[in-house]
């Protein structure tokens, strides 16, 4: 057991899902050919002026509400001045003393225990561009497409004491932002990024140790590894009588260790001051109320609704809501076939199983919730056997299409052909006199054997119920 305990706080940057950038009308979409999504305003040409995109303000207010923040009635913008080639104005428009959101909280669940993480503030700012380094030609190129994409920065209080808590919080935030339609939270595309401030102190100590800031963390896995590596590094320093230096560190994924980037002494003096180009905003209660009312259903409300209205098990509801893509798929399916329980079961039992096996990808499904719902409906109403349903789903995963045309094409419908049923069952009974004896002497288990044999031979041509009825009748003769 370590003699130290870690304390962490997070700074999370999330790109907002607005159509256009925060201070100009350029598209805020991810990607694009270099410098194809910028204009004189976002590339900082002389004489151009920023004009605030009010959608971005609406989104940050929503973010504030979903994280139980206080929304400032008065908010303003500041300039954060520093030179860097990816920042064409040489200042970032951000918010210093009057952010839109203050003091919120978010509940997380770690190992069955609920914990509250306090939010210090959320403010709105613009993203910077990207530098592409060409090591061969020894040049760097600037791509300003990302310049001016609206970002919110969520700053937490130092309320975390383990990597698990950090991950649980990030997963929670991710869901909240996704469900509220604020951010798509694609860590791999950088639409959500997280810096970790981390320090350790001897157990029982009331004072916090000197902190370092971890940057460049590109996945949840990297965050866990970086936190663990940094705790270990700081422990080793303290154990050997050395001090932790306040600095910014980068995580080297290959080496699995954190590396110093710059010390506190090298830190910029950002010379913040109010941006004279953007007037402050004063919100009215009506405006805030309207924005608050426009927030879509959040994860917890959904889980509750699924359990109470749909009678879905809490654990199943958790699974479905736990991935917004799955949940949207589920909603679409239920709108087609109003049997939520059956739909949920088949999503969890079959679709997600295949996704987990790597056979399907939620981001690249070749069919929608409606087609999936039809399949479940056919199965539930004895139009297609379970075995054939699985085959149809495989076909849909591989090549797309709707279950009806696949069933038509491959002749997979249950036909309720009594002649065929009688022929098959009669033959099985005739070929298995021993089993018939067993059944007649009261061994009910052998009934399953007959069912299996019959279904196998019928290949779904008769519904299980018809097979069962006919079998019982014949075996009782």
């Amino acid at each position: 057991m370590s003699a130290y305990f870690p304390t962490m706080g997070l700074e999370i940057h999330a790109e907002l899902l607005t159509k256009s950038k925060v201070f100009c009308t350029c598209s805020a979409e991810f990607g694009g050919a270099p410098n194809s999504r910028c204009c004189p305003v976002c590339s900082g040409f002389p004489g151009t002026l920023p004009v605030l995109n009010h959608k971005a303000v609406e989104y940050i207010i929503k973010a504030g509400y979903v994280m139980n923040c206080e929304i400032s009635r008065f908010t303003k913008w500041d300039r954060k001045n520093y030179f860097y080639p990816d920042l064409p104005k040489a200042y970032q428009i951000s918010q210093m003393p009057r952010p839109v959101c203050l003091s919120g909280n978010v509940k997380i669940n770690v190992d069955g225990e609920e914990k509250t993480i306090r939010i210090n503030r959320i403010h709105l700012e613009e993203d910077a561009g990207k530098l592409v380094h060409d090591d061969v030609n020894r040049i760097s190129l600037a791509d300003y497409n990302r310049c001016g994409i609206p970002l919110i920065e969520i700053v937490t209080e130092p309320d975390f004491h383990s990597a698990d808590e950090v991950i649980a919080f990030l997963e929670k935030i991710k869901l909240l932002l996704q469900y509220a339609g604020i951010c798509d939270c694609k860590m791999e595309q950088g639409s959500i990024r997280c810096d970790v401030n981390i320090s350790i102190a001897p157990k029982g100590s009331t004072e916090l140790g000197t902190r370092t800031e971890l940057k460049n963390l590109n996945s949840l896995k990297a965050i866990t590894r970086a936190i663990e590596a940094e705790i270990e590094r700081q422990e080793e320093l303290l154990e050997s009588g050395e001090r932790v230096i306040q600095e910014t560190r980068r995580f080297n994924e290959q080496a699995g260790e954190t590396v110093a980037m710059r010390s506190k002494e090298d830190a910029h003096d950002y010379r913040y001051f109010p941006d004279p180009d953007i007037p402050p905003i004063i919100f009215t209660e009506e405006e805030l109320e309207e924005i608050r009312n426009s927030i879509p259903e959040l994860p917890e409300q959904r889980i509750e609704r699924y359990v109470s209205e749909y009678s879905i098990k809490k654990t199943d509801a958790d699974i479905i809501v736990g991935d917004k893509r799955v949940c949207d798929f589920f909603e679409e399916a239920v709108s087609e076939y109003n049997n939520p329980k059956a739909v949920a079961n088949y999503i969890i039992g079959e679709l997600m199983r295949r996704i987990n096996l790597g056979e399907a990808d939620m981001d690249a499904l070749k069919f929608g919730g409606r087609e999936f719902a039809k399949l479940v409906e056919y199965m539930q109403t004895d139009k297609i056997s379970q075995a054939n349903a699985k085959n149809i789903l495989r076909e849909m995963i591989e090549n797309g299409g709707d279950p009806k045309s696949i069933a038509d094409r491959d002749d997979l419908w249950i036909k309720e052909d009594s002649g065929a049923l009688a022929a098959v069952v009669d033959e099985i009974i005739a070929n298995n006199p021993k089993a018939v004896e067993q059944y007649k002497s009261g061994d009910q288990k052998v009934f399953g054997f007959f069912m299996g044999q019959a279904n196998k031979a019928l290949k779904g041509a008769a519904s299980p119920k018809a097979v069962q009825d006919y079998l019982r009748k014949k075996l009782s003769e």
Binding site: F45, V51, F83, A90, P276
Partner: protein, 482 residues
């Protein structure tokens, strides 16, 4: 046709009556520039080709009966207002070859009228200065005395109008940059209320103070230009959502009963006696015509210069940070980014610009912010309040435009503080966001013009234009010999 000190409204009449064609008129001005601007150096770039082309288009508009106030009217535009496809240098090496791919909003409005661009007027580098001697390309001289400065920073615009190189010009005013050169060059210039004219496309010096405005031969022509360039612009969040009146509407209305305040601090011993005398005499004349003179005080004036320079330099330091030699403009040398921007900025900017960037960054740096920048903002509020108090008892305020007439070139070169102090009469108007107009009230024995300023309530350009117009009625301006 004699274009000496020609008024826009007279040119309009001549153009519409076919007395002169737009191309012919344009050629007249170009000819005069070609002959005489060698002495004055009011232009950085003369856009001869563009001018003749747009004059041709303007003539077509006139022929089709589609002419409006400025169709075919040639203008000089200060070199810090972006024009699509036309080099816009801000009189700085940094932007020596910068050609913007967009128009300032005021240029779009002028284009819609069919104006004719004669060229880019010189200015102090990035509008920082009051003499036009910090221009990297054309150190403009005063047409009334070529050994004197034309004032600044819009010295090129004012000199061009005074020398009849253009009937009017656009300038920009951050701390007096329209009014002071108008005063030195004996023309009329107005700084509109902050927010009246879109700043989109004006290369920013100090964003909370900058405002574009006209310089012309009289208040009436200023009003004609204001009618075109004012109005809300969705590309400038600080532009006001206010209706734009017809600024010529109140011109000629009597000023009877109008209260004119004369704060005593503007008539102290720091003001050259010749200036004080002429402004005071003008006030007496206005009194004779029915105005009521009101004594008052503006104690905050003594803090005006430090407050102004802290705010202006802080904003400038940030605004000018974008000039790093990476995307456009002058690129120095260096193996790393830091070396490259250091060299670009060291060599691209002139001394005065660098001084103000240093001042601004100092005032904003951590540990000094509260002592300097924050105090300056508090002083701004105090100055606004003192002006409000005066406007409770008066309709307009009358002051000298500058403490002295135009001074000799080089006289203030080694004393930046003295140079800054010379802005004392104009900067508070920018700090408070008020409209102010300068018009000529007399001449020194040596024939140098002396200007007076009339300051109005926010968005009340109409009244200060009315007073200036009243004064100009009967005043005979002297034209410089060139």
């Amino acid at each position: 046709m004699d274009i000496t000190r020609a008024k826009i409204r007279d040119l309009r009449r001549s153009l519409d009556s076919r007395e002169i064609g737009a191309e012919e008129l344009c050629a007249e001005y170009l000819k005069r520039i070609k002959e005489k601007d060698k002495k004055v150096l009011s232009f950085i770039t003369v856009t001869e080709n563009e001018a003749l082309q747009s004059a041709k288009r303007a003539q077509k508009m006139i022929d089709e009966g589609k002419s409006s106030a400025l169709t075919g009217i040639p203008l000089a535009i200060k070199d810090n207002i972006c024009i699509d496809g036309v080099r816009t240098t801000c009189a700085s090496r940094m932007l020596e070859n910068f050609v913007p791919p967009y128009n300032a909003t005021v240029i779009e409005k002028l284009n819609a009228e069919g104006y004719v661009l004669l060229g880019r007027a010189s200015m102090d580098e990035f509008a920082m200065g009051g003499s036009t001697q910090t221009s990297a390309f054309a150190k403009t001289k005063n047409p009334y005395d070529l050994e004197c400065v034309p004032g600044g920073s819009s010295g090129g615009s004012a000199a061009a109008v005074a020398a009849s190189f253009a009937p009017a010009a656009l300038g920009s005013d951050t701390g007096g940059s329209i009014r002071q050169p108008s005063s030195f060059c004996g023309v009329t210039g107005i700084k509109p209320t902050y927010g009246r004219v879109s700043r989109y496309g004006l290369v920013a010096f100090a964003s909370s103070l900058d405002q574009i405005g006209p310089i012309a031969n009289d208040a009436y022509d200023c009003a004609v230009l204001l009618n075109v360039i004012c109005g809300h612009d969705r590309r400038d969040a600080t532009s006001a959502r206010r209706d734009v009146p017809d600024f010529t509407e109140k011109l000629g209305e009597p000023i009877k009963g109008l209260k004119i305040a004369m704060p005593k601090e503007f008539f102290s011993d720091d003001i050259d006696p010749v200036v004080r005398t002429h402004v005071t005499n003008a006030a007496k004349e206005l009194e004779k015509r029915g105005a009521v003179l009101v004594d008052c005080s503006i104690p905050g004036l003594k803090y005006a210069i430090p407050a102004y320079y802290l705010i202006a330099c802080a904003e400038a330091a940030s605004n000018l940070s974008r000039f790093d030699g990476i995307k456009y403009g002058f690129r120095g040398e260096g193996r790393t980014y830091d070396e490259l921007i250091r060299d670009s900025r060291s060599r691209g900017f002139g001394e005065e610009v660098k001084r103000r960037i240093l001042l601004g960054n100092y005032a904003l740096s951590s540990g000094y912010y509260d002592a300097y920048y924050k105090k300056a903002l508090a002083l701004k509020q105090e100055i606004i309040k003192e002006y409000n108090d005066i406007f409770d008892i008066a309709d307009v305020i009358l002051t000298p435009t500058a403490p002295t007439p135009a001074y000799k070139i080089g006289a203030q070169d080694n004393d930046p503080v003295k140079m800054y102090m010379a802005d004392i009469c104009t900067v508070t108007v920018n700090i408070a966001g008020l409209p102010g107009i300068s018009t000529t009230c007399g001449y020194t024995d040596g024939g140098l013009p002396i200007g007076m300023s009339i300051i109005g309530r926010r968005f009340d350009e109409q009244t200060i234009l009315q007073v200036a117009n009243e004064w100009e009625t009967g005043f005979v301006p002297l034209s410089p010999e060139l």
